[in-house]
């Protein structure tokens, strides 16, 4: 895989920011889009924009084919058994909320337990807090080890017959930890709980096989994997989805509407109320084609190498702390860190002046920040178009940042 060549597919990366060539290292927040995706959207709007599933006319048929074709691509992308198991949503947040409101409300009772971890993103915490409050259920957090991992023995202890839902991220957007989802799924199933996987940081970066993981639900967002914003996926096992009620009612999702009763369309459409996210789904399909052409294994390997290189280079900076698994351990392509004496916001501002985009803040993971004992961190996150040269620029700029701040002090 040649990241330099791949970079050329991303027009946005070819620009100067504050007088320096842009180095985009905020990919965990959102990724950039290749021309292949931009052109797919352009083509849809120029040539066959139309509502789906309704018209008898030609454009309507083309749009429907493209929209449903994108569903087939997603099915193959995560190796789901059937296309009915793929529901288009607005993103990870909407997917998890839908699962909580539909499956959760119907299946959680007073005293039941829901198990998550300290490292979850707010979108995989608050829907469960709300559900637990509403139902009188108990929300439990799997303890976090200092190297950013969770232990299977803790999972075995905490997940019991009282547990009805286990919901865990596969890859941490802060620590870069890759959680042993397959093993935790087994433990959940042995205790009769369903397993929900937050795949927001997984789908863009490595192969996901839902049949191999055997998880019951998977949520991810298009915008982190080269697709537009506003499109995401809720995967669910057919036998579960079939028994779940929709949470949004209206056009597109109905079978028959009477004055006082209505019936729903079959899967997956009963969960897609209203005019669907047609352009978004088509863009997601194009993004999947693009990523698969390069190869998810190659992308994972490239990012792993880059993160390893970054950790090696960054750890030479005096006074830096790096969070999560150690270099060499299994970890995803991002590095979260703090420079001593310089607040992450200040780091990000100085880096921005050098054309380097990173994230600073709590990364939508306040419980994790509390557990790490800091209010805020800086994060550089990589994607397929990032190069060792980008890492070198980052490291040079961090050294400069330290010098700049030691001068003013």
């Amino acid at each position: 895989m040649n990241a330099k060549e791949i970079k050329q597919y991303f027009p946005i990366l070819d620009q100067e920011v504050n007088g320096h060539p842009l180095v985009y290292l905020d990919n965990a927040a959102t990724s950039q889009k290749p021309v292949q995706v931009i052109e797919a959207l352009d083509k849809y709007y120029r040539e066959y924009n139309s509502n789906v599933h309704r018209g008898v006319h030609t454009l309507g048929n083309r749009a429907t084919d493209a929209y449903e074709g994108a569903r087939d691509k997603v099915r193959k992308f995560i190796n789901a058994r059937a296309r009915e198991e793929i529901v288009f949503t607005r993103g990870t947040t909407t997917s998890i909320n839908t699962i909580a409101q539909s499956y959760g409300r119907a299946n959680i009772e007073e005293g039941d337990e829901i198990v998550i971890t300290y490292m979850e993103h707010h979108s995989n915490i608050i829907p469960w807090q709300q559900l637990a409050k509403e139902k009188g259920a108990v929300l439990k957090y799997l303890p976090l080890q200092d190297n950013g991992s969770v232990l299977l023995e803790d999972a075995r202890e905490m997940i019991t017959e009282k547990t009805k839902i286990v919901s865990i991220m596969m890859v941490s957007n802060v620590l870069g930890t890759i959680n042993p989802i397959k093993d935790i799924t087994k433990i959940a199933h042995e205790n009769g709980a369903v397993m929900i996987v937050d795949g927001a940081q997984t789908a863009p970066h490595m192969k996901i096989d839902v049949q191999d993981l055997d998880c019951d639900f998977l949520a991810f967002s298009g915008h982190k994997m080269c697709a537009p914003t506003g499109i995401g996926v809720m995967y669910g096992k057919k036998e579960l989805l079939e028994n779940m009620e929709p949470v949004e009612f209206g056009g597109e999702m109905i079978d028959f509407v009477g004055l006082h009763e209505s019936t729903w369309k079959e899967l997956p459409w009963k969960f897609e109320g209203g005019t669907p996210i047609i352009a978004g789904a088509i863009g997601l399909g194009a993004a999947i084609d693009f990523l698969e052409e390069i190869g998810l294994d190659e992308i994972e390997e490239h990012e792993h190498r880059l993160a390893g290189y970054a950790m090696e280079q960054m750890s030479t900076i005096e006074g830096i702390s790096i969070y999560g698994p150690l270099a060499g351990e299994k970890r995803a392509g991002l590095v979260t860190f703090n420079l001593s004496d310089v607040h992450p916001h200040d780091v990000a501002t100085v880096l921005d002046a050098e054309g380097i985009a990173i994230r600073a803040g709590h990364h939508c993971a306040q419980p994790l920040m509390k557990r790490l004992n800091c209010s805020s961190t800086a994060r550089a996150s990589f994607y397929l178009y990032n190069t060792e040269e980008d890492v070198d620029k980052l490291v040079q700029a961090l050294v400069k940042t330290k010098e700049y701040f030691s001068d003013v002090f």
């Binding site: 607040h343 501002t349 209010s375 805020s376 700049y404």
Partner: protein, 147 residues
């Protein structure tokens, strides 16, 4: 933007307030306690103030945040101590205008605060600078209403 422009943001005075914050801590018997945070970045501040005879007799802040938010809090407490409540609130308006890059009345003595002018050039940092001011405004306007 080069490192030179950064100097517009990180003025010496600001760095001094960041390194040696004035009025850091909490008043034991603070009549007004305001907690405020910036949900997008995790900065948080606790402002305690005493108001006597319509004047801010004491003000202290505690919290965590970047250089801009902490320096701004330090400067803010310095500026309002001993001032009439109305003057403090007026200062807050002036500060908002300054952050928006607008003109502001020159008749108030802004002292160190003027060094924060450069923040208006860094949109992402304006919220950092205004956090303590929002806390002060909230505390004093509620106090005024209850009187």
């Amino acid at each position: 933007m080069s490192f030179n422009n950064l100097d517009q943001l990180y003025r010496q005075v600001i760095m001094d307030h960041y390194k040696n914050p004035r009025n850091k801590g909490q008043i034991e018997e603070g009549t007004l306690t305001i907690d405020m945070n910036n949900p997008t970045c995790g900065d948080r501040i606790r402002l305690t103030m005493n108001v006597e005879d319509g004047k801010v007799s004491e003000a202290k802040f505690d919290g965590e945040g970047c250089s801009i938010s902490m320096a701004s809090a330090s400067m803010m407490t310095q500026a309002i101590k001993g001032k009439e409540v109305d003057t403090a609130l007026k200062l807050s308006n002036v500060f908002s205008e300054m952050m928006l890059g607008n003109d502001y009345p020159e008749d108030l003595d802004l002292g160190d605060i003027e060094a924060l002018q450069g923040v208006s050039q860094f949109p992402a940092r304006i919220k950092c600078a205004t956090l303590a001011w929002k806390a002060m405004e909230k505390g004093l306007s509620e106090q005024k209403e209850s009187n």
